[in-house]
């Protein structure tokens, strides 16, 4: 996907500003390039205005903040014990006392969903970090080194893409065993190939721009250029990708915990909660509907925010 499209803007820019220009001109161009980038850096007020014009993105951010609070301090939102049930109050529908109703042994479902947040969110975060770190390093090396290294890494990525992500995750879980962390690692590794491709195309885009050439021309070593110039300028799209991957990671993690490969039984992982309500589908709709709705809203919010950030990023470029 990336090869031609990624190379074209860079080469076009070079043909435009490079031909017949002196090194000094180029250096000034590079300085101007950087200056315009830092001038566009958003302030808090501009950020606020950006969200005010996009109510959907603002709502998405708000929901994710609530989810974050639930993950970090679950007792602030739901002070009860997620594992303790009152058998006399089992299988009650949603009410003022039990917002999400109660399950078959009288545990409050809202408390369980809130306390399960940290399990699901931390698993998704581990998955994103694993995918982004490994994928970015591979993409960075691939895009920067070029030649044979590039070819080998990209062919490997092609092969990984031939195996559907969920099946790759399942194969890794088969080898590593069950558990939240293993599920997270498996989901992360399954996303490495696509992350490395995107990172590579970003690196190629940045590598061919004028200020990198200026940095090289003023005598900086490759490693310094890579760490000080290429990396910071490639991170924007990677952060957007991270938010987008986060939504997908929540889906994958909860699907795997739904299938029973996550944390063992009483742990209130979101996918496991949906699975736990399966046997009571006919009588107690809330046991599957409400945890599932929580997952869907969180994924939707993460995807919406990623789309907002992405459109802003491309608009600015």
């Amino acid at each position: 996907m990336s090869e031609t499209t990624a190379l074209l803007p860079g080469t076009a820019q070079h043909a435009g500003d490079g031909f017949g220009a002196t090194a000094g001109d180029r250096f000034q161009d590079a300085v101007a390039d950087r200056a315009s980038r830092s001038a566009a850096r958003p302030t808090w007020t501009s950020r606020f205005r950006w969200f005010a014009r996009r109510p959907a993105a603002a709502l998405a951010l708000l929901w994710l903040l609530v989810v974050l609070v639930a993950a970090l301090w679950p007792s602030v939102i739901a002070p009860g014990d997620p594992l303790a049930g009152v058998p006399a109050e089992n299988l009650q529908g949603p009410s003022a006392a039990h917002w999400f109703g109660t399950d078959q042994i009288g545990r409050d479902l809202f408390t369980r969903v809130v306390h399960g947040t940290s399990l699901t969110i931390s698993a998704a975060s581990i998955a994103v970090v694993v995918g982004l770190v490994v994928g970015s390093v591979l993409g960075l090396v691939s895009g920067f080194a070029g030649g044979r290294t590039d070819a080998v890494i990209m062919r490997a990525a092609d092969v990984l893409l031939a195996i559907p992500g969920l099946l790759l995750s399942l194969a890794i879980i088969t080898a590593l065993g069950f558990g939240t962390v293993n599920v997270a690692i498996a989901v992360g590794i399954a996303s490495v190939a696509s992350v490395s491709r995107i990172m590579r195309s970003e690196v190629i885009k940045v590598r061919t721009s004028a200020y990198i050439e200026a940095a090289r021309a003023s005598g900086n070593g490759w490693l310094r250029v890579l760490l000080r110039h290429v990396l910071p300028n490639s991170t924007g799209p990677v952060i957007v990708l991270g938010v987008l991957e986060f939504g997908g990671a929540i889906l994958a993690v909860s699907a795997l915990s739904f299938l029973g490969y996550g944390a063992p039984a009483p742990a209130p992982e979101w996918g496991a909660l949906v699975s736990g309500g399966r046997d009571y589908l006919r009588g107690a709709w809330w046991l599957t509907t409400l945890p599932g709705l929580t997952i869907a809203l969180t994924v939707l919010a993460a995807n919406r925010l990623a789309r907002g950030l992405d459109s802003e990023g491309t608009g600015r470029r």
Binding site: S2, I163, G165, L168, L170, R278, I295
Partner: protein, 354 residues
């Protein structure tokens, strides 16, 4: 198809080179799955013998390990198993002792029915939604329709399947909630399986339709007096569909892996159930067989697209020179105004070529 002999031999060479590349991808997929499944530490034999149960002597354990060839060095195991695969022997299931090819073979048919119907639903609903969303004049209606695919992408498919059961099996007893006995039992699972894929197709196609509608040849067609519907379906959709068609391999893989969840939710037999059980039992040979099966489906779908694509897009010639990847060449052509302009005449070009 090209008529002259030189063209025909170049077509043959093209197909041969694509076949060769496909085999290399399959070999690489085998190697990757071997590394993941056999090189990472796991002890399926101990699990088979009853986990940490103490009634199995170390000697019996060693015998079982030897029986499955798990005691040999990794390189030897790799070569032995690769040799077996080349002869059509995909190993023996550790949990049941049956050949892997048999375990997978008998599960293929119900999964093909499910995935086939889901493919149809995903393509028709996804493309229909994309066409409708870009066709309607009302701004709010269009915004609403364009808001649906992101929703479909965000909904967990296992949850959606359970919701379908709740609504259309329990509250309105229209379809059976589980089993594979009738055609009606296929309806809900295939809709559940089609949701994420259909939403992805709708997102992709509505984006490329919007781009196509801004191209110059659309103005040309309008100026020549073609009505709005004709321009939309005959001209814009035909060009916009091309990038979506290159995603076929991905879609097939997504549907196939989606059956793991769907078949579990709807208690149907098939590849997905076999996978879920094999992972549960750490049945490594079966899991590897399924990974290979999925990679083969992916490769075959891509091969089919490679062969059909030149028929759909006459700007692409069948050449023996192996293109490194299919996707980059397409946008490059599409952005070229000279080659993009005659695209509405695909019919005429195809007729002439025949």
């Amino acid at each position: 198809m090209p008529a002259t002999t030189t063209n025909r031999s170049s077509t043959v060479r093209y197909i041969a080179s694509r076949l060769g590349q496909s085999l290399i991808v399959l070999w690489a997929a085998y190697t990757v799955s071997f590394i993941v499944l056999y090189a990472l530490p796991s002890d399926p034999v101990a699990l088979l013998a009853g986990g940490d149960a103490t009634d199995v002597t170390p000697e019996q354990l060693a015998e079982l390990t030897a029986q499955y060839g798990l005691d040999q060095p990794l390189v030897v195991q790799y070569l032995l198993r690769l040799g077996g695969v080349l002869r059509g022997d995909f190993g023996t299931s550790i949990a049941t002792g049956r050949p892997v090819s048999e375990v997978i073979g008998e599960a293929v048919s119900p999964t093909l029915q499910l995935a086939g119907l889901a493919f149809l639903i995903a393509v028709l609903a996804g493309a229909g939604l994309a066409v409708l969303a870009t066709y309607v004049r009302g701004r709010s209606l269009s915004t609403f329709l364009l808001g649906l695919p992101p929703l479909g992408v965000a909904i967990p498919s296992f949850w959606f399947g359970l919701m379908l059961i709740q609504w259309f099996s329990f509250q309105l007893p229209l379809f059976p909630a589980m089993g594979d006995k009738s055609v009606a039992s296929l309806v809900l699972p295939s809709i559940a399986l089609a949701l994420p894929t259909g939403a992805m197709i709708a997102q992709l196609l509505s984006k490329s339709l919007a781009t196509a509608l801004g191209e110059a040849y659309i103005d040309t067609a309008r100026a020549k007096g073609a009505d709005r519907r004709r321009v939309h379906l005959r001209h814009a959709l035909r060009n916009a569909a091309l990038p979506a068609i290159t995603m076929t391999g991905l879609i097939v893989g997504q549907l196939l892996s989606g059956t793991v969840v769907t078949e579990t939710v709807f208690s149907r037999p098939g590849i997905g159930r076999v996978t879920a059980t094999a992972v549960q039992q750490q049945d490594i040979p079966v899991v590897q067989g399924i990974v290979l099966f999925a990679a083969t489906a992916f490769v075959l779908a891509n091969l089919a697209v490679d062969l059909v694509y030149p028929l759909l897009d006459p700007r692409i010639q069948l050449t023996a020179a192996p293109r490194r990847r299919r996707q980059p060449s397409v946008p490059a052509h599409a952005e070229d105004p000279v080659t993009a302009a005659p695209a509405p005449d695909i019919d005429a070009v195809l007729e002439a070529a025949r």
